[in-house]
């Protein structure tokens, strides 16, 4: 990892300002054709370099492992109340509350134990595509087609919509948002193809991350604070690894043949899983700098919208447009189980912070808790 983290220091600050003269020295091509040609040459070289390190497949190394036989997950709760498609969910750190947002323009805070709705907030927009709990559990953020992220302070006694504040904005819809290790900073991803880092208290923009060539669909922050890196996935079919401090991307992961809808760090922080419109999920390793696993079947034809990993990284949960949640053994690359219960597309899956349960959101307007 050290080699990766050290990389951004070598980037000339001038290139960030778009100074054409310095760029001329940095990358020789003058025209888009020359540059495109050079990209192809470099990609080929990179592929050859990566291939040298690809000495064995993950499922071969994992052959000696015992298969997972004890897997038994049941739908234990169904959270009902949204009037339309549920687009996103996020667990609270208390492992009990869940925030969800929907096409009906509502943000709901649920008590997943009792299935009660503790707060319902009406947003000024429909298609609330993303919501996030702050790490302390004291506030929730959400946004979507309004191109903004609004923060709501959670209190037990009053209408939380009175306590709202806009803290982030983009020039296109916001697809994802996540707090960065504390309640102080928020990272957002947008259809404007950028990600932005915000100071929550002041709403000040701290950094813009430019590099994707199409809509940003998803992001995930490294489980290791020392890493200072995060992931993004985009409609340009690639996932990027970014250095938070420098604002530059440090690794490119390609392989998916369509939009990357979801990226999630492996709990070790050394790898990540992804889900795509190409109906596959993949596992990429940062240190090998390449894809090490692929999870697909001829019978799976529909897009994967969301992925998450169990606490040990052994299981990969993936929600699809065919109403199913497929459970994959990440190491053996085989499907362990299929979770049926939703009656429409599964938009979001997330393992609870203690790893004891899985929550899933669907176009069928419900959220289900599996344990």
């Amino acid at each position: 990892m050290s080699a990766i983290v050290d990389e951004p220091s070598r980037i000339s600050p001038l290139t960030q300002n778009g100074d054409l003269h310095s760029l001329h020295h940095a990358a020789n091509g003058d025209t888009i054709e020359e540059l495109t040609k050079e990209v192809e040459v470099l990609k080929k070289k990179l592929e050859e370099e990566r291939a040298k390190f690809n000495d064995v497949a993950l499922n071969v190394v994992a052959q000696k492992l015992d298969p997972i036989t004890s897997f038994q997950l049941k739908s234990r709760r169904s959270l009902k109340g949204h009037q339309s498609k549920v687009l996103a969910l996020d667990w609270s750190c208390d492992k009990r509350h869940i925030a969800s947002s929907s096409q009906d323009g509502k943000l709901v805070i649920w008590d997943a134990f009792s299935t009660n709705k503790e707060h319902v907030v009406t947003m000024p927009t429909t298609w609330v595509m993303t919501c996030a709990y702050a790490p302390t559990g004291s506030c929730v953020t959400c946004g979507g087609l309004d191109n903004k992220i609004t923060l709501y302070k959670l209190s037990t006694d009053e209408d939380i919509s009175k306590q709202k504040r806009v803290i982030a904005s983009h020039t296109n819809y916001i697809s994802c948002n996540q707090f960065v290790f504390s309640d102080q900073q928020l990272l957002t991803g947008s259809g404007d193809s950028t990600l932005k880092l915000w100071d929550v208290e002041t709403g000040q923009l701290m950094q813009t991350f430019q590099g994707h060539q199409a809509d940003v669909m998803c992001l995930d922050i490294s489980p290791s604070e020392a890493g200072n890196i995060f992931l993004s996935g985009s409609a340009d079919h690639v996932a990027l690894v970014w250095d938070i401090r420098s604002g530059q991307y440090v690794q490119i992961f390609d392989g998916h043949e369509s939009d990357v809808n979801s990226v999630k760090f492996h709990p070790s922080g050394d790898a990540f899983a992804s889900g795509s419109d190409d109906a596959t999920c993949r596992l990429f390793d940062l240190r090998a700098d390449r894809q090490v696993g692929i999870y697909k079947k001829d019978s799976i034809l529909f897009a994967c919208n969301s992925v998450d990993l169990s606490l040990s990284g052994r299981l990969l949960f993936a929600g699809y447009n065919d109403y199913c949640i497929n459970v994959w053994d990440t190491l053996k690359s085989v499907r362990v189980s299929i979770l049926y219960a939703h009656e429409n597309r599964v938009t979001s899956v997330q393992v609870s912070p203690d790893g004891a349960a899985l929550a899933s959101a669907s176009w069928d307007s419900t959220i289900k808790v599996w344990a």
């Binding site: 990389e7 390793d285 606490l311």
Partner: protein, 66 residues
């Protein structure tokens, strides 16, 4: 950002990425397996609960006092 600037940035990144230190896939796979084995016992979704009473979402049997 213009398409030209994006492509330039990509060229630079690909050059840098060509030079990074890599680990062999066999090595990283072993490490992923080691991590998994070290945490599998505490992974309730893989190992299940040793006792269903520990499952916070287990439905209560019989009548429920509200």
């Amino acid at each position: 950002m213009s398409n030209l600037a994006t492509q330039r940035k990509l060229v630079e990144q690909l050059r840098r990425e060509g030079a990074i230190e890599r680990k062999k896939v066999s090595q990283v796979c072993k490490e992923l397996i080691t991590f998994c084995e070290a945490h599998q016992q505490s992974d309730a979704l893989v190992a299940g609960f040793t006792n269903q009473k520990e499952n916070p979402f287990k439905e209560k049997a019989g009548c429920l006092i509200i």
